[in-house]
């Protein structure tokens, strides 16, 4: 069905002088859509022409509307020669196609020329009349909303999350067509810009179609990327999460909680903790697989030096065939863990959590042995059994924890070569993909499973999960590009899964059948899927894909976080009962509340999860690619943690090159992981969020950069220290050296704990330790059994726990590595940094935000650099860049750099490019102190009284509504509306009530304290709002940009559509434009300006979820030339300051307000 596109050219301003003689310009405008072109009259002799044209009308298919941009060209009329182009404006009219987005594009847009940059502005009006399309065979997908935001957009509610959508389109790159030899650079650039516009339009349309097929109406977490494959073509690909969204008409107060509510508030809302988090630990399993079958001979390299605390699914990597079926694997591990049979001993997670990461490499059999022995250093991860504690545990347990016990088992496994050897042909090698999964092991959560209530809940829960799983399995890829979720959606987090594959590019012969590229990604996604399965998870969240291309070699990467999701948003057809049910299911606080969960969910034996959970309740370390859940319980603050690595590589061609790269990848990944672990420990933290590992390939080197935000999850055990072990203990000076280093490390850890306000160990242990008796008491009451003497001993156990992390110094490399560890300079006073949406531990943002992009290119003049030297250079580059940022933004202190997104590239040999986009947000200092204190207290109290609190909540809820009952018996029950369970629910609820009454009668101190402590928090929150109000006065008519999905102190009231822009800028007068820096500086400024202008023209005042996805810079100083390509995207929005909203809504109450104010002053 056709639509009618109407455009009107109003005026121009600040046009460049095109006629030197008169210093003026005779400008006119061409308006082109598809194959139709209109022209305005020439407005003679003016730099500020007033065309005021008629409405130019284009009657077109909506398919074209989606694919094509409106192209506006401003020209200078020349009577005698050809008209000179001044510049162009491409307008994406997609936002106009959706009724809920923008209705008109109107405003001043920069006129852009790829050679000269911005040359004046043009004022246009664009409208679309769209007729409803009733054709079911249509090729268009108008009306599907797109969001870059990787969470449910603020003014929408998710009705359903359908799942993964992906698409890619390929084309020849105009830059590499034969015609490029005879056309001007401008023509070539414009051809490219236009092509990419068309391709992204087409891509978006196709994805939209898929969404409609799935029954959705929106794509959230839309991530579109370009692969400039050079000779072999241009690939535009996109992934996203299809959803059905519903606009929230009113502004319910609860809607705010996602943005900056304090976790505690959410906690209160959520009497029930979500199901247990899967304890997990990282392993590297890197099964190399050939095209046909996976090579199974992976074996754990480091095994001899590794001590595992108990069973690890990672052993799967040495038994690859079995690893592919996740459940059997877990089962297989059972023997190692005596608890699995479920003795009624409630085991606390802490006793088990001292896993250390083990890296096991699976490599091709032929070469692996030798190569593995060459591994430069080993990380020795000790489980240091906290002796008293362990001993106190039931007899079977300690033994599993004893290194000596484990070691034999491990050794035997590792020493046994994997049974399967699949020989690979040479060609197969090229196609082989190296993949890793950082698997977070399921920390067994041993549970006293004796309780009847719990037992009842278990199967139900399992049933539900199966339902969810089957719902997911219907999908090809149960992937979600979201990084934060509606409360109650994310149940368990497994760990990071990632896969990489090295490919040789060849020319895309038929652009209409991009099958090879599709197949490549399919391969990788399958890999990811199987990794997730191996972790016992049915979904992957925080999923993203990326590439790195150098000449004809391409590394495809995908990563995400294995997880288990609630069926709530995935079930087809509304299940009313269930829905209501789940409304009250708490948001994912189960993420941190493992003790609570474990006590309440027994895991029936047939569920593999339960087996693993019994062994350990939480992992000692958790890595994820998602944002910290809003309600996660943390201690102190978070910080940016980066692992940086450079590896030299011999120059090679074709297949040899690809092989070399794929051989290097595992080492790179392994070392990045080790660095991350070390740095995490050094900061006294135990979890990483927003992990993003970027591997970039160049001709002579590989760069690896892993960024993440470290936090101390209260629910996880405190990290042990790092111990250095020398190899030659006889040497005294060496010993001294080592002890010096040890001291330094210890000091750093102590300093960091201080800096990030991570409570001193005693407190930490208390936090960890204290919840134990509470739940236990409850469990006792609950289950009226499972009382045992080891109650006390468990308490002690947590106190005594101290696991250490041992770094062995066996060569100079290792020494340097340790030095490098310590060179990360701390952030200056008043600064915090993270790469996630929000900084864990800071809530009271002011409205002052500053988004920025910084790019650095470093030239390595010295060709013969060692790996170590390169590492240092690379690391310094990143560090210095950060330091510069801190300095630049010093006026915003106290502030936090959020969403620090580093992108590395090797534009040419000997060049390293680092680009950073982030936002600096100020916060209120005084409140941070208070809040810090409060949160400290809060975590303490919460830890202590959590269960009480929940009961309390139940009690309150009770008279109101009966459907609140399920609260009392958290977990699976609540998710099932079936009748049989109702009785149990009831009974357990009554039991809880009784318990509650009991506690109150006793006048439990803890209960009281919880109430007291709870109150200051909302207060603090309201105070922060007030402060926002005072700041908002400075707001002017500007367009804010932020990589985050929200604007502090403001409410997004409308999404106007996606901004997805691609620009090329080229110069042949590099020196005159201020050299490379001057050139890029003005280009980036121009890109910002164009984004802002287009957002303003849509009627918006901010861009959220902004990102610069591509910044390809090439220079040729000898020829005085440079070229740069930039691709940016984001969501155009209208926001309103919360203060203004309040002012509007609070009007009636103004009297009281003012009177208050009067008193105050």
């Amino acid at each position: 069905m056709p639509g009618k596109l109407k455009a009107k050219i109003v005026a121009g301003r600040h046009l460049p002088v095109m006629d030197r003689a008169s210093d003026l310009t005779d400008a006119f405008v061409e308006v082109k859509f598809g194959n139709t072109t209109y022209k305005t009259d020439v407005y003679p002799k003016s730099l500020n022409p007033q065309w005021n044209s008629e409405w130019f009308k284009f009657e077109v298919d909506d398919e074209d509307l989606q694919d094509e941009p409106l192209q506006i060209t401003v020209l200078d009329h020349d009577t005698y020669s050809a008209n000179d182009a001044i510049g162009k404006v491409y307008i994406d009219i997609d936002p106009l196609l959706c009724s809920e987005a923008a209705t008109v594009i109107s405003g001043w847009l920069p006129i852009y020329d790829t050679i000269h940059g911005i040359r004046g502005e043009i004022n246009v009006l664009v409208k679309v009349d769209l007729f409803n399309d009733l054709n079911r065979f249509r090729q268009s997908s108008c009306g599907v909303k797109f969001f870059c935001t990787t969470s449910i957009p603020r003014c929408y509610r998710a009705i359903m999350v359908h799942g993964f959508v992906e698409e890619l389109v390929v084309n020849e790159d105009p830059e590499y067509q034969w015609i490029d030899r005879i056309r001007t650079p401008r023509a070539s650039n414009e051809a490219r810009q236009r092509l990419i516009f068309l391709m992204s339009g087409e891509l978006q349309r196709k994805i939209g179609l898929k969404v409609l097929e799935m029954g959705g109406n929106a794509v959230v977490g839309y991530l579109q990327c370009f692969d400039l494959e050079g000779e072999s073509g241009l690939v535009v690909r996109a992934i996203g999460t299809a959803c059905t969204l519903e606009k929230i008409s009113t502004l319910p107060s609860t809607a705010t909680h996602q943005s900056n509510s304090s976790p505690s508030k959410d906690m209160k809302d959520s009497p029930q903790a979500a199901p247990s988090t899967l304890g997990c630990r990282s392993t590297h399993s890197s099964p190399v697989h050939s095209a046909s079958s996976r090579l199974s001979q992976g074996f754990s390299v480091s095994v001899p030096t590794l001590l595992f605390a108990g069973m690890k699914p990672r052993h799967r990597s040495s038994e690859a065939p079995r690893a592919r079926q996740c459940r059997p694997v877990f089962g297989e591990e059972v023997p190692g863990i005596p608890l699995s049979s479920g003795p009624p001993t409630p085991l606390r997670a802490q006793t088990f959590s001292s896993f250390s990461p083990s890296k096991s490499y699976s490599r091709q059999s032929s070469s692996s042995d030798t190569e593995l022995s060459l591994t430069p250093k080993t990380v020795r991860m000790f489980l240091c059994p906290s002796t008293p504690a362990l001993e106190s545990i039931s007899s079977s347990l300690p033994s599993t924890h004893m290194p000596c016990h484990l070691r034999p088992g491990m050794a035997s496994r590792s020493s046994t070569p994997p049974p399967l050897h699949v020989s690979q042909s040479d060609t197969a090698m090229l196609r082989k993909s190296v993949s890793f999964s950082e698997e977070l092991l399921l920390a067994a959560s041993g549970m006293g499973s004796g309780g009847s209530a719990g037992k009842e809940a278990g199967p139900l829960k399992a049933l539900l999960r199966q339902q969810t799983q089957s719902a997911l399995e219907q999908r090809e890829y149960p992937f979600f590009t979201l990084t934060s979720f509606p409360s109650g959606f994310l149940l368990h987090v497994g760990g990071v899964v990632s896969a990489r594959s090295v490919k040789l590019l060849d020319r895309i012969h038929n652009p209409d059948e991009p099958e090879t590229r599709d197949a490549w990604w399919e391969e990788i996604r399958q890999e990811i899927k199987s990794h997730a399965k191996a972790l016992g998870c049915h979904a992957v969240v925080g999923y993203s894909e990326s590439t790195s291309i150098c000449e004809e070699v391409c590394i495809l990467s995908a990563s995400g976080t294995a997880a288990i999701l609630s069926s709530r948003f995935m079930q087809d057809g509304p299940l009313d009962t269930e829905h209501r049910f789940e409304e009250v299911v708490p948001p994912g606080c189960g993420f941190c509340h493992i003790p609570y969960d474990e006590l309440n969910i027994p895991f029936p034996a047939q569920l593999t999860y339960c087996y693993s959970c019994r062994r350990s309740k939480v992992p000692d370390v958790l890595f994820t690619t998602i944002d910290l859940p809003a309600d996660a319980n943390i201690t102190g603050k978070g910080c940016l943690i980066q692992a940086r690595l450079c590896r030299t590589k011999k120059k090679a061609q074709g297949e040899g090159n690809a092989t070399a790269i794929s051989n290097l990848l595992p080492f790179l990944e392994y070392e990045l992981h080790t660095q991350l672990m070390n740095k995490l420990k050094l900061r006294g933290m135990n979890a990483l969020f927003g992990l993003r590992i970027q591997i970039s390939v160049g001709e002579t080197m590989l760069l690896g950069l892993a960024s993440a935000t470290g936090v101390y999850l209260t629910a996880l055990p405190g990290p042990g220290g790092i111990q250095i072990a020398g190899k030659t203990p006889s040497d005294i000076t060496y010993e001294q050296h080592i002890s010096n280093m040890q001291k330094k490390i210890n000091d750093t850890i102590a300093k960091n704990k201080d800096l990030y306000e991570i409570n001193p160990p005693e407190v930490v242990e208390e936090i960890i330790g204290s919840p134990i008796p509470e739940p236990r008491q409850r469990s006792r009451l609950f289950r009226s059994q499972s009382e045992s003497s080891d109650e006390v001993s468990e308490l002690d156990l947590s106190h005594g726990k101290k696991d250490a992390f041992v770094l062995e110094i066996d060569d100079t490399d290792a020494v340097e590595d340790i030095h490098a560890l310590l060179t990360d300079s701390p952030t200056p006073q008043g600064f915090y940094s993270c790469n996630t949406e929000i900084m864990p531990g800071i809530q009271n943002w002011t409205s002052a935000i500053q988004m920025f992009t910084s790019v650095r290119v470093f030239r390595l003049n010295n060709a013969n650099l060692t790996n170590q030297g390169l590492n240092k250079i690379f690391s310094d580059l990143c560090e210095n860049l950060l330091k510069s940022l801190y300095f630049k933004l010093r006026s915003m202190v106290p502030c936090c750099l959020c969403h620090l997104n580093f992108t590395v590239a090797i534009p040419e040999d000997e060049l390293i490019q680092v680009a950073v986009t982030a936002v600096a947000m100020s916060f209120d200092k005084e409140q941070i102190l208070e809040n810090g204190k409060q949160s400290g207290e809060k975590t303490l109290t919460k830890a202590i009284t959590e269960n009480d609190e929940q009961l309390q909540f139940n009690l309150e809820l009770n008279p109101e509504s009966s459907h609140a009952n399920p609260l009392s018996s958290p977990k699976g029950l609540s998710e099932v509306g079936s009748h049989p369970s109702a009785r149990d629910r009831c009974s357990s609820w009554i039991e809880q009530l009784r318990l509650k009454a009991h506690t109150i009668r006793r006048g439990s101190v803890k209960t009281t304290s919880s109430m007291e402590k709870a109150s200051p928090l909302p207060e603090g929150r309201s105070r922060s709002l007030r402060s926002n109000r005072s700041y908002s006065g400075t707001s002017v008519a500007v367009v804010k940009m932020t990589p985050l999905s929200f604007i502090p102190g403001a409410k997004i009231i409308k999404y106007l559509g996606i901004i997805n822009m691609f620009f090329i800028r080229e110069t042949t007068s590099l020196r005159e434009e201020g050299g490379v820096s001057g050139f890029l500086h003005s280009f980036i400024a121009e890109v910002f300006a164009m984004v802002r202008a287009h957002v303003a023209a849509l009627g918006g005042n901010a861009v959220v979820s902004y990102s610069m996805k591509e910044c390809v810079f090439m220079e040729n100083p000898n020829k005085n030339q440079a070229q740069c390509l930039i691709n940016v995207s984001g969501d155009a929005v209208i926001f309103v300051r919360e203060s203004e909203l309040e002012a509007a809504s609070v009007q009636p109450q103004s009297t009281t307000h003012t009177s208050n104010g009067g008193e105050g002053t």
Binding site: S854, R856, F858, N861, N880, F887, R890, A1085, F1088, A1093
Partner: protein, 357 residues
Amino acid sequence: MSVELDVFVGNTTIMDKEVYQLWLNGYTVNDAVKVRIEGGVMEECEASADVLLSDTMDQYRTFQMCERLLHHPAKLANQLLFQIPPDRQAMLIERYYAFDDLFVREVLGKKLSKGTKKDLDDVSAKTGVSLKSCRRQFDNFKRVFKVVEELKGPLVENIRQHFLLPDQLARDYAAIVFFANNRFETGKKKLLYLTFQDFAFCAGQLINHWTLGAVDSMMEDMDVDLDKEFLQDLKDLKILITDKDLLDQHKSLVCTALRGKTSVFNEMEANFKNLSRGLVNIAAKLINAKDVRDFFIDLVEKFIEPCRSDKWTSIDMNLFLTHYTNSAHILDTFKHHAVWTRYMGVIKSCILRMYHD
């Protein structure tokens, strides 16, 4: 090994006032870094010299890109390239158009031509203001001059509107433009004791009272030129000195009024005719463009210097000028009261301002 490219671009353009000033003052990047290091910003923010260098380079680049916009300050407000909060914009403009009194004193009244620009290195050496800064200031003068030259209406208001300058700065620019247009001589040795602010004050008086715009702001003509008709009329004042009776009458009136009120009465009485001749002659000659240029030097030579040598105080001066002006109105045969008032009002305030060491 070197950093080949290093840029930082904020959505809101970050500009450091201190660095901006250094840039305006014509410091090179390296010198600016040195100054900043000495200023202690490093300790304050735990930064290193490298960081400072990177920051300074970046800021300098930003300023250079902004400079083109600053030439037309009105554009700064509606350009799209840099997002700069209004208060920042005002700061940028104000500082960009600020000038050194020492420098402006050197070029005041000179033709804003290429020739003058070539001599700026001498001015720079003399005043200690860096050549870069001299050039910027000179170009500012010239730019403002060019723009307002062709505009109608009040000079100060035009400058304020076109260059978005604060009131005082707009007035100063008006003075500079006015001086440049009328080419007043200010460089003579005898005038060196006068500051720019003295001249600016005088220029303000002249603009407000002696130009065409002063009589009728709606006039076609502009503020930059003196009211030709008025200058013509000034010739009529000559009667005050050519008519012996009038002169004597005038003298006696003034003497009567001042007797006993001033310590320099005798000197005044003795010098009256000379002083009166001086002032009236200046008025009579102003119709000649060349004499307009010498207006200030004439004032000093013909009036201020004789008084100074007789050790008049400012109070004496004020008394004398007041009575000298008023007495003329009492003279029977003197008819040109309006012109006299218009002339003497300005002369009086100029002399009072200029009468210092």
